[in-house]
């Protein structure tokens, strides 16, 4: 029974990766955006290589993780394939996990490649193997967290990706700017420092600082604990929202909405008769 479930989740994940990896919003918001954002941040500024490394890894991880998960449900609602999935023996949490795993894998692969290239190119030195493991643990947690954040935005029962991308960008950028990537937490004024606690990227950037140069603000245990707390909260809130909005997604989008209008007209016409 559990193996059947895992098998279904894996099939859904494979489907999501192969179908959505080349979609426009995924390429634009997952790859091009962090690349150009990093360029505009780094060029012409006197920033240490460690600081650049922390920024690039955090942004790549966060942006790639929030690329696939918001687009799957709106596209599948529009193309009616979501209904096909829902009539097969798949539960809602299997569908959601399939999206999260696909998005997490995409983020992990891209971020790992960028991280390894950067380490090799700029000879980033780690104090121990444990810090390397901690760094990848942080990247993994951020990949899951970002995927869940994207999924949360996709709870809006729409069949237009632009609607969801608008929401996710409205959430993503403030979280990024208050995270301590651009300005280290130690240098933030106290009110901004307080706000930065509400961004999960703060804890990834801080964990990476611990791994790279030991200039962390919190302890690494706190960083990992906070990332896990964010994941749990996101998963619970996301699941509950999707459970609530899924019937609406099927009932009120596209043709069904037109049908509902027609239904009302039909009743009105009957009354006239």
């Amino acid at each position: 029974m559990i193996t059947d479930r895992l098998n279904r989740i894996w099939i859904l994940s494979k489907k999501n990766v192969s179908l959505y990896i080349k979609r426009g919003p995924v390429l634009i918001f997952g790859l091009m955006f962090p690349f150009f954002m990093t360029l505009s941040w780094v060029i012409g500024r006197n920033i240490t290589i460690h600081h650049v490394f922390i920024g690039i890894v955090s942004m790549t991880s966060f942006f790639t993780a929030t690329a696939i998960s918001p687009v799957v449900l709106p596209i599948e609602t529009r193309e009616k394939s979501l209904e096909r999935i829902l009539v097969s023996p798949i539960s809602l949490h299997e569908i959601l996990l399939g999206i999260v795993i696909a998005s997490t894998l995409y983020s992990l692969i891209i971020t790992s490649i960028i991280t390894i290239i950067f380490i090799l190119m700029f000879s980033i030195v780690f104090t121990s193997i444990a810090t390397i493991i901690l760094m990848f643990l942080g990247i993994c947690l951020m990949a899951i967290l970002g995927s869940l954040l994207g999924l949360l935005a996709a709870a809006n029962p729409t069949d237009r990706t632009s609607d969801v991308m608008l929401i996710i960008n409205l959430i993503k950028f403030p979280l990024l700017f208050i995270s301590g990537i651009f300005v280290p937490l130690q240098n933030l004024p106290s009110n901004l420092l307080f706000l930065s606690f509400f961004s999960p990227i703060t804890f990834l950037a801080d964990l990476l600082r611990f791994c790279v140069d030991g200039s962390n603000f919190f302890t690494y245990q706190v960083d990992i604990f906070m990332l896990i707390i964010w994941i749990v909260v996101m998963f619970i809130v996301g699941y509950m929202l999707h459970k609530r909005t899924m019937p609406k997604r099927l009932a009120e989008t596209g043709k069904t909405k037109k049908k509902m209008m027609m239904m009302k007209k039909n009743i009105e016409a009957s009354r006239v008769l």
Binding site: R8, P89, I267
Partner: protein, 335 residues
């Protein structure tokens, strides 16, 4: 007169009751979207191996009924559904395996090939790759899609996409098929292929629920018809019974060689008072076709007239459908 659950007047279905087990038992289905009641206290039974058509105007609640039936929408209030005597709430995944669904518009993944779509579906139902391949090839051959196996779904025509929908719905060998306007917008060859396949599937023992706007289709392939309007079932009978019950008259058309005199016309008017000239034909309504044909024969013999052409037009299901919908709408207006 209520038509809800009314099978007792229909001899065919008394026979069904005796011989077949109930495949689908639906009671008190109800679904509301904000200020609109889409399905209102719908109950019906479908017997194993039966083809039941749901007819209704746009927005009558047909698709919502199907979505409730297939577990997409949660049941509300007193509603209950039993599939082969098993309730929907006990095990939703196991419940869903009973159904194969063919939608009106393709819901296959458009960027996947035909084979990738089948492989995905088979995988979801837990089939090993060899079984998926064997079964897929068989279905693709039956539906004339084998040469399109590696074509992207988005490159297929509407007819071919619909054939793929049938293959996807049948891949896991479901006992119940739900067809949502399966031949809508298809060319005549594809329509014929689909109808033949539906009848073949009935022979194989599948229980089939079909929604359609095509009265000809409903009349040809359905054993029983449910007519829905404003979220309620307003009729539940076999196509023949429906036609007889609600529009018992047929139309007799005939053509006479030569020109009829005024006397002949008057006699005809006296005998068949609804007679009128339609193009080169005379047409009149008949409640008793045999009696009226015999009277027409006697009339032609007595007056030395030759009937060169002769037709009996049965009341169509479409006329019954329009009659019932109008009647229901008027009754609602009265309320």
């Amino acid at each position: 007169m209520t038509f809800q659950n009314k099978l007792t007047n229909d001899i065919d279905h008394e026979l069904y009751l005796g011989k077949k087990s109930i495949a689908i038992k639906v009671s008190n289905l109800y679904k509301r979207f904000e200020d609109l009641t889409a399905v209102n206290d719908v109950s019906f039974e479908i017997f194993e191996g039966e083809i039941v058509g749901i007819l209704g105007p746009n927005g009558a609640g047909k698709t919502t009924t199907i979505r409730l039936l297939t577990g997409i929408f949660k049941l509300e209030g007193k509603a209950s559904i039993e599939i082969f005597n098993e309730g929907i709430t006990t095990n939703l995944s196991k419940y869903k395996i009973n159904f194969g669904i063919v939608p009106e518009v393709s819901n296959a993944f458009s960027d996947f090939t035909v084979w990738q779509n089948l492989k995905f579906s088979g995988g979801i139902y837990g089939f090993p790759k060899e079984k998926i391949e064997k079964r897929s090839k068989k279905l693709l051959e039956q539906f004339g899609l084998l040469d399109k196996m590696h074509s992207k779904t988005k490159t297929l025509s509407k007819g071919l996409k619909q054939r793929l929908n049938f293959c996807l719905a049948l891949l896991h060998e479901p006992s119940i098929l739900i067809l949502d306007e399966p031949t809508s917008g298809l060319d005549p060859i594809s329509v014929k292929l689909m109808r033949n396949r539906i009848l073949q599937l009935k022979k194989e023992g599948k229980t089939i629920l079909i929604t359609t706007h095509d009265m000809q289709e409903a009349q040809t392939i359905c054993d029983r018809i449910l007519i829905m309007n404003r979220g309620k079932i307003i009729a539940d009978e076999s196509p023949d019974t429906l036609r007889k019950r609600f529009k018992s008259t047929s139309t007799i058309l005939f053509k006479i060689d030569g020109v009829l005199s005024n006397d002949h016309k008057n006699t005809l008017m006296d005998t068949f008072n609804t007679i009128k000239e339609v193009n080169d034909y005379y047409a009149f309504s008949s409640n008793d076709v045999i009696r009226d044909i015999s009277m027409l024969y006697n009339f032609s013999k007595e007056n030395n007239l030759t009937i060169s052409d002769f037709k009996v037009k049965e009341t169509s299901l479409e006329e019954v459908f329009i009659h019932l919908i109008q009647k229901d709408s008027i009754s609602m207006g009265v309320k």
